[in-house]
Subunit: 118 residues, 2 copies
């Protein structure tokens, strides 16, 4: 049920590779991958579930309110994460030259539909 | 010597609060703050030096090449980080409604000057 929404995000953004909905405990809810040969989206999600937990602690310590979005650009991967609830997030992997702005926009559009199903 | 370049970034971006150049060990090199009442830029940098170290480990583990940029949007703070060398980064704190795109652009412009002095 989530995969269809994830597919809409990935297939409509230039450079879209894959997306996962996951809990901060690293357990995936659902995922969709367009280019299976490039990355393991669940492994990426798991690595970043730990980092998001650390970011949440930092945000608490700095008293700047809850973390809403995170993005990381590495040499060969662009990762965009959006918190859906305090426990669940959506992560989208893009090629480094992918359309970051459109990705964030589509994730924001998709969020209410995803949240309603969580 | 760094502060002048940091000032140029912060003063030219809507919502700019402050900026710091810091090592991944959490030790600041130089900083500039426009709105002293809002945040402690060194404390923010320190919190994220730890997170950047974790992101670097994740990037290594995922074999996606070195981390180049990281951004975090919390309810009351937008933080944009750019690695300058494998050990040093620049972090810019913006108001959440600040101009993220312009901030990234100005950081990219400033990077060569900062790197040359590190």
């Amino acid at each position: 049920m989530f995969a269809e929404t994830l597919k809409k995000v990935i297939d409509n953004v230039e450079g879209g590779i894959g997306s996962v909905i996951m809990g901060l405990d690293g357990i995936p809810v659902d995922s969709y991958v367009r280019q299976t040969d490039r990355v393991d989206i669940n492994t990426i999600g798991m690595e970043f579930s730990f980092i998001l937990t650390q970011v949440r602690k930092a945000a608490e310590s700095l008293q700047v309110g809850p973390c809403e979005e995170l993005s990381v650009k590495a040499e060969r991967l662009l990762l965009v994460v959006r918190m859906l609830t305090p426990q669940y997030f959506i992560a989208v992997a893009l090629a480094p030259e992918g359309n970051f702005g459109k990705c964030r926009y589509l994730m924001r559009l998709a969020a209410p539909r995803l949240v309603a199903q969580l």
